[in-house]
């Protein structure tokens, strides 16, 4: 299935399934998330993708959250400092790992004879996703996005999934770069408990901005179920195009994740039904969700 087929499904308002957490799944399976384990544990990556395909995901995401050239550069005072003190090839590392990640996702779908499954490139904000105060100046980041998206496009990603975005200006730049490349752009924002974006914008501002910039799917993600619900209640009435959600379950325990039983797979499904009633048709899981969570969702809605 190419993107057109998936688009028909989405346009027909059939429920479309994303996968669940990947970073947290790596932790849950006993590994650290250092360097995303893309080169050190390719089999682990492959298995997680396969488990999500098995669970019924239509779209699997690359294990690339927070992986960008800038994230490496951010550990140094300036380029000269990085060249002197940084590991060899550090500035090429993001690009290499991006290629690796797409290739592993592709290998997973082929290994299960599921070439119909699409690969979404997981791309978050250039600065730390939960720190809107550090958002870069939107005027200055277009080339950076274009470079990063080109890597994903060259590697064969089918969708750009801009996720855990905290404000619209950066999302607008990301969408513009995606359109330049010509691959569908899905944009997921983080809502807060008050139903506004983590960066403070209202859902009205989000809807207005996105109506002008036209992402292929608009989503809410990376927040606990009650924050997702609060955001969705405000966004859904303002948005008549494809809408999606994926919530996290558990607690962020930097630098790792605390798995809690606050939202069991059954409880999570119950939340998904409510989100579907509110208008969300693209559904998956964020940090802390597992293949078992996704399986519950796909079995119910299929």
């Amino acid at each position: 299935m190419g993107y057109n087929e998936l688009k028909s499904k989405i346009d027909a308002q059939q429920v479309t399934f994303l996968d669940g957490g990947i970073g947290t799944e790596i932790l849950r399976r006993g590994y650290t998330w250092a360097s995303h384990q893309l080169k050190s544990e390719p089999e682990l990556n492959l298995e997680i993708h396969q488990d999500y395909i098995d669970a019924g995901a239509d779209v699997i995401t690359t294990n690339t959250f927070q992986l960008s050239k800038r994230s490496f550069r951010n550990h140094f005072a300036n380029n000269e400092h990085l060249e002197t003190l940084g590991a060899k090839g550090l500035l090429d590392r993001a690009s290499e790992l991006i290629h690796e990640s797409v290739s592993l996702a592709d290998k997973a779908r082929r290994s299960m004879n599921h070439n119909d499954i699409l690969i979404a490139a997981s791309i978050t904000t250039l600065e730390w996703c939960f720190r809107p105060d550090r958002s870069p100046d939107a005027e200055e980041i277009y080339d950076e996005y274009l470079e990063e998206l080109t890597d994903y496009a060259d590697a064969g990603a089918d969708i750009f999934l801009f996720e855990t975005f905290n404000s619209t200006p950066e999302a607008e730049v990301a969408i513009r770069a995606a359109k330049e490349i010509g691959i569908p752009a899905w944009v997921a924002f983080v809502p807060y408990q008050d139903g506004r974006l983590l960066g403070g914008q209202s859902m009205k501002e989000v809807a207005d901005s996105m109506a002008r910039n036209e992402p292929d799917v608009l989503l809410l993600n990376c927040a606990p179920p009650d924050h997702i619900t609060a955001g969705l209640k405000q966004l859904a009435p303002l948005w008549n195009k494809p809408l999606g959600v994926y919530a996290h379950v558990g607690k962020f325990n930097p630098p790792e994740w605390q798995f809690t039983d606050e939202y069991s797979a059954d409880q999570h499904l119950h939340e998904c039904k409510q989100w579907h009633d509110l208008g969300a048709t693209v559904i998956g899981g964020c940090c802390g969700t597992t293949p078992a969570y996704i399986k519950k969702v796909t079995e119910f809605f299929s």
């Binding site: 994230s71 550990h75 005072a77 002197t84 003190l85 940084g86 590991a87 630098p255």
Partner: protein, 309 residues
């Protein structure tokens, strides 16, 4: 007080040997980097301290670099956001870990019979990433932050406060002010840039003078490669106690971490023997306090002790 031994050495111009990398050593020994390894592997932390003590150090440093409340809050929008989506008790985690870290260092001193002989330095990092002076907050924020850190370490019973890796004069001044209300000696190390100045471009010699005038009993350069340390060193030497610690290897952070993460590559580029030769050249220049930053191991420190005698 064990610090009087150090004071004695400093006044008679004898070398003072510090330990080497703690964080890099935790990773090298296969411990997963979360909560500094303190919860998962307290035995390894204690063992690293013991290895440095047995290598012949004069001062032991707590494994508390980059272990502050701010290092947890930094992952979140703010304290409220952390309370909502963060793990339970995260706001108190750094404080608890710091106390455990001091206890582990104390246990190492007791086990080796060095309690009361080797003083314990409480390590405090910059508020933000040590290599990002541009992120350093306002003077007031720095003051409040460092006061809290000094308070915890002082209360846990360290013998001196060691501000490590300061990268700008504003924060250095605030940190020294924060420590001034406590009855503990204070040392401060600065991160050099490539040109012998402070990492943010300020004059290293002016900042070193400022630190001394604000109460720092010793001033060091640290967290730079050997050539960077060499370049910075002449700018802090002025006859009063000063020192140097160098990094071995190349910094290889994971992409997703907003704070310092002690992973280094190519740390075998400088052997213990070569390292001790470098240290010897620093001593020749008039430095008294020497040790290792990230990447150095107990073997490097042992080689230096052998050379110093």
């Amino acid at each position: 007080m064990s610090y009087s031994f150090i004071k004695q050495k400093l006044s008679t111009n004898e070398p003072v040997l510090l330990d080497g990398g703690n964080g890099t050593e935790v990773l090298r020994r296969g411990v997963r980097w979360r909560q500094h390894g303190i919860e998962d592997a307290p035995d390894v932390i204690r063992e690293i301290h013991i290895d440095y003590i047995e290598a012949g150090i004069d001062i032991l440093t707590t494994h508390t670099f980059n272990l502050t409340k701010r290092n947890f809050i930094n992952f979140f929008r703010d304290g409220d956001h952390m309370a909502l989506i963060g793990a339970l008790g995260l706001e108190k985690r750094a404080m608890e870990l710091c106390r455990s870290a001091v206890s582990l260092a104390r246990e190492a001193l007791t086990q080796t019979g060095k309690e009361g002989i080797i003083p314990l330095a409480g390590s405090i990092s910059p508020v933000m990433h040590l290599f990002r002076p541009d992120l350093s907050p306002s003077e007031n924020d720095c003051l409040a932050h460092h006061k809290e850190c000094v308070d915890i370490l002082s209360d846990s019973g360290v013998d001196l406060i060691f501000f490590e890796g300061m990268n700008n004069s504003r924060e250095a001044k605030a940190a020294l002010q924060a420590a001034s209300g406590f009855d503990l000696p204070v040392w401060m190390s600065f991160v050099p840039g490539l040109d012998g100045n402070l990492l943010n471009g300020e004059s290293l010699s002016d900042t070193a003078d400022l630190a001394r005038s604000q109460g720092a009993e010793a001033v060091l350069v640290s967290a730079g490669s050997i050539p960077m340390i060499k370049k910075g060193l002449p700018n802090i030497i002025n006859g009063s106690p000063c020192g140097a610690k160098a990094i071995i290897g190349r910094y290889s952070p994971p992409s997703w971490k907003p704070d310092f993460y002690p992973r280094f590559e190519d740390t075998d580029e400088v052997s213990p023997a070569e390292f001790s030769q470098e240290v010897n050249s620093w001593l020749d220049q008039g430095v008294q306090i020497v040790g290792g930053s990230s990447g150095t191991t107990p073997e490097h420190i042992r080689a230096v002790r052998k050379m110093i005698g």
